[in-house]
Symmetry: C2
Subunit: 208 residues, 2 copies
């Protein structure tokens, strides 16, 4: 394949993926029709089937590529970065349609028949890396297990976003993530780290 | 209506509700067919429409009545009871089909088009009552707000059960709720209360 064709294929795939994200975000998985997605992407069924064999294939791509348009920090840097990262995710969930749709599918994937834990595992590993840096710096209490707390954090974040989505269309999400950290930090951070750490949505806005 | 007729109507409603719970738990909302529910309940469509006008009506009933077969403590009694209660819920989620289906619909309700926050509010109020007793006893740290932490706990529990459902069919749920408490308690309980409290699945088994 020549380079222009490759580039066009990449652009087509992206257009379909983003159209699918919009439709899943708006209607949910089971009500999302492939024809609606094709119409929104402005491509033919043949073009879609070159990249995605089925609606399930599209759902899985949106699910596992949910973080692909985020500006995540390149290297783990510890507890402050972990706090900022979760607040940044709260802000992105208000406006990033691929993340919104991917998270919606992660939560409602029983309905989509996907049964895919890999995206949760991916976030657990991402959070764990920050916690391991924090541990090496002596910012974590001795009883904290990085993997265990990373799981607790992904679970708490997931439930918080689910409830905020239902209750306020995610308007309250950043402030509820701040409240969550207020209750979680005393169980994981040393008094010295606690005195230094800031839970501040404004800091996370700088990451947008 | 004479009494035997009333009793029969109550039994019919319950049979339909439980059949709907089984089908929602097994297949999810969108794949659940009314005919499958009728067949399992052994009732006619007419009998169903006397109690529930539509599949949505059935979904809403399973959602809001999810806790109706639980043996919840009659009176709030504080932090130990709150811990035991969450572990008991973890055990019930492994075997109580109405709770399982109601929680599944609460999580996947975007798919069901229900958009109902009342069941979350109900659990928040239930947990808050325990926290208020704990506060009056002096078991909570001064910065703890009972309503705020009740929301954090419902969110964390919801995310924990969602992930455990996906990862292990909820087999790991009671132990993951124990882990969650290990990280939450230092942020809410006084040192005196911490020394007294027990996070123990065996205690919760006595509530079954």
């Amino acid at each position: 394949m020549t380079r222009p064709k490759q580039e066009r294929a990449v652009r087509t795939r992206e257009a379909i993926l983003m159209a699918a994200a919009e439709v899943f975000d708006e209607y949910g998985y089971s009500a999302a029709g492939v024809s609606k997605i094709l119409q929104r992407a402005g491509v033919t069924q043949g073009a879609m089937y070159f990249h995605f064999k089925s609606k399930e294939d599209l759902g899985r791509a949106v699910l596992v590529e949910q973080a692909s348009t985020l500006a995540l920090p390149a290297e783990p840097a510890g507890l402050q970065q972990l706090i900022d990262l979760t607040l940044y995710l709260g802000l992105e969930l208000q406006r990033n349609v691929l993340l919104r749709a991917g998270v919606r599918l992660a939560v409602e994937q029983g309905e989509a028949g996907l049964q895919d834990f890999t995206v949760y595992r991916w976030w657990i590993d991402r959070f764990r890396a920050e916690l391991e840096v924090a541990g090496r710096r002596g910012d974590l209490l001795p009883q904290v297990d990085a993997l265990e707390f990373a799981r607790v954090l992904v679970a708490s974040f997931t439930g918080t976003q689910l409830m905020s989505h239902l209750e306020s269309g995610r308007e309250s999400l950043p402030s509820e993530i701040s409240v969550l950290w207020g209750y979680l930090l005393p169980g994981i951070a040393t008094p010295g780290a606690l005195a230094r750490l800031t839970v501040d949505v404004e800091r996370a806005k700088a990451m947008l």
